[in-house]
């Protein structure tokens, strides 16, 4: 079943065609990676798919429903969630509270009940807290639950964002460079985490530069260059594609990728 698909998506910024007719089709339960040189439009594509930008042309479908012009919060309610390349942590709140915000779309009290502290509110707070703790545990941050979010190390913050996105129980999770700035050990953790997400039935779409991670974990890889699709295929197909090697991987990178696949 196709869970996310775009058809000839395009957007321009002041005359520059950042994304120029990109079509992709992601099946449920896959790990789908988008790679490409810097400036190829990967994060722009993410921003389009997650509703932060409105495309000039083309369409987006989520689980069969056309969602092209929906706002990010509407997409979130339909089971799409994402993390950010340049971390958007709620630094004033604790680690646990950050993840609790992720539960928002499952919370049922309104502003009036909240103001008056209706009995439903403490019940909701408790349920939210418990679900958030579970998500935190998933990424291995349970011990930091009550610390100020701003006090965590970079790698931990990346995991916090994932926990927060997980808390919303998405069907499709967009991860924007989850391994950026991570050491090999942290990257291994990310690898394991993503695999466990897939086991739970979540479709993961990845933007990444870390070729080892990409090749290890992806079912399909989509290569972007200058806002256009260069090619798409299995990791093996992509890493041995001469056009990809020339545009992005380079000979050394291709060898890296090869080692990952052996």
């Amino acid at each position: 079943m196709i869970v996310l698909q775009t058809d000839r998506l395009a957007i321009s910024f002041g005359g520059v065609r950042a994304i120029d007719g990109v079509s992709l089709s992601i099946a449920a339960g896959q790990v789908f990676s988008i790679i490409g040189p810097n400036g190829s439009g990967k994060t722009t594509l993410f921003n389009l798919v997650s509703g932060l930008y409105t495309p000039n042309a083309g369409s987006i479908e989520l689980a069969g429903e056309t969602v092209t012009h929906l706002a990010p919060d509407q997409l979130a309610r339909r089971g799409l969630s994402r993390t950010f390349q340049n971390l958007q942590i709620f630094s004033r709140m604790s680690v646990l509270e950050n993840v609790m915000v992720g539960r928002h779309r499952h919370e049922r009290t309104g502003i009036l009940a909240d103001l008056l502290h209706w009995p439903t509110v403490p019940r909701q707070n408790k349920a939210t807290r418990e679900a958030a703790l579970i998500a935190l545990d998933r990424v291995g941050l349970s011990d930091s639950a009550d610390r100020a979010a701003g006090s965590l190390a970079y790698g931990a913050l990346k995991r916090l964002e994932i926990a927060r996105a997980l808390a919303s129980e998405p069907k499709v999770l967009l991860l924007d460079e989850p391994a950026a700035g991570c050491n090999p050990v942290e990257t291994e953790d990310i690898d394991r985490l993503i695999r466990s997400l897939v086991v739970d039935g979540i479709t993961v779409v990845l933007v990444e530069h870390d070729m080892r991670l990409v090749m290890n974990i992806s079912d399909r890889v989509h290569v972007l260059q200058s806002g256009r699709t260069l090619t798409e295929g299995t990791p093996e197909e992509v890493r041995s594609n001469p056009a990809v090697i020339e545009a992005y991987l380079g000979v050394h990178g291709s060898q890296e990728a090869g080692r990952a696949l052996d």
Binding site: S50, G51, L52, A71, P72, D73, L75, A76, R77, S81, R82, F84, Q88, I89, F90, S91, R92, M93, E97, M100, V101, G102, H104, R105, E107, T109, G110, I111, A113, D114, L115, L116, H117, V121, Q124, N125, T128, R164, A165, S168
Partner: protein, 314 residues
């Protein structure tokens, strides 16, 4: 009983204790008057604090809502034959409605654009009150008939002290409730990162609007109390200086701090009273206070004290 000891409610409890205990120290009726004024403004400030300190928005025209509440209890009984208590409720409803109308387009703006838009809005309201003399008595204002509840005329600084003190505690309680709720978390999230809040399913626009309306209604009730207490209302109640005073109280006490709202109100209500012989210096002093705090003590009194207390423990 356990609910009372919940840390969530401690600030409200503290304020309630202050309200009850203070009169023991009052040498004269005059002090009841100061106390009443402090609690009235603290109520407006807590509402503004929810908007500014908690949700991270800004309103430099909030006195406009103060004015709507104040003129409601003047116009209602005088021109429409409505009892004062009903006029107060109507004023709050009108404030909420105006906040809804104005908030929708304005809250899309950020930073200094939002600041100036709210400034413009506040000034427009003040202009309307100044010009529509037929309804409002023009620049000299109009008198406000006394509040009559169950046949009993509410008057006296001590009565108003208890009324405004009690309402202030209730207002603080509601604010504390909000802060420890799903809506409260959503608002804090919006403050820190609107974009992240959105992708987690938070309808940012409607949450901002909701808190804007709530804070407008807080100000409106405070304005109504002010007018009923003073027995008179002039367009200055909705003016630019008033709006800046309210923001100064928020900043002074500490943005996002409920107790800070009371502290800010205390400082900026008591100071002019203490300086009555230096009345001319009021404006210069207000300006100086705003500058000094925004430059050196941006966090405000209560959070700064809290930091001072926390630090030695390390």
């Amino acid at each position: 009983m356990r609910a009372l000891l919940d840390t969530r409610l401690l600030p409200a409890l503290a304020v309630a204790l202050i309200v009850i205990a203070l009169p023991w120290f009052f040498p004269s009726m005059y002090y009841y008057r100061i106390g009443a004024l402090v609690f009235i403004f603290a109520l407006a400030v807590v509402g503004l604090n929810l908007l500014m300190g908690f949700a991270g928005q800004v309103s430099l025209g909030h006195a406009g809502f103060l004015g709507i509440g104040a003129y409601a209890v003047a116009i209602g009984p005088t021109h429409l034959g409505m009892p004062s208590w009903l006029s107060l409720l109507a004023g709050a409803a009108v404030s909420g409605f105006v906040a809804f109308l104005v908030g929708r387009p304005i809250l899309r703006l950020k930073g200094h654009y939002l600041a100036v838009a709210t400034l413009g809005f506040g000034l427009l309201i003040a202009i309307v009150f100044t010009n529509e003399a037929g309804w409002t008595g023009g620049p000299d204002g109009m008198s406000v008939p006394r509040l009559v509840l169950f046949g009993w005329a509410v008057k006296g600084s001590d009565t108003w002290y208890w009324i405004s003190g009690g309402t202030c505690v209730v207002g603080f309680l509601l604010a504390l409730n909000l802060m420890h709720s799903p809506t409260g978390r959503a608002l804090q999230a919006i403050h820190d990162s609107e974009v992240a809040a959105q992708v987690l399913g938070i309808d940012v626009a409607s949450k901002k609007l909701a808190i804007f309306i709530v804070s407008a209604m807080y100000a409106s009730v405070a304005g109504s109390y002010l007018a009923l207490f003073n027995g008179h209302v002039t367009p200055e109640v909705a003016g630019f200086l008033r709006s800046i005073e309210l923001v100064a109280m928020v900043v002074l006490g500490g943005m996002g701090s409920i107790v800070g709202s009371l502290v800010g109100a205390v400082v900026l209500v008591v100071l002019p009273q203490a300086l009555t012989m230096f009345h001319e210096y009021e404006q210069a002093l207000l300006g100086l206070i705003v500058m000094v705090f925004m430059i050196f003590l941006r966090r405000g009194i209560v959070p700064s004290l809290a930091l001072l207390v926390a630090r030695p423990r390390k």
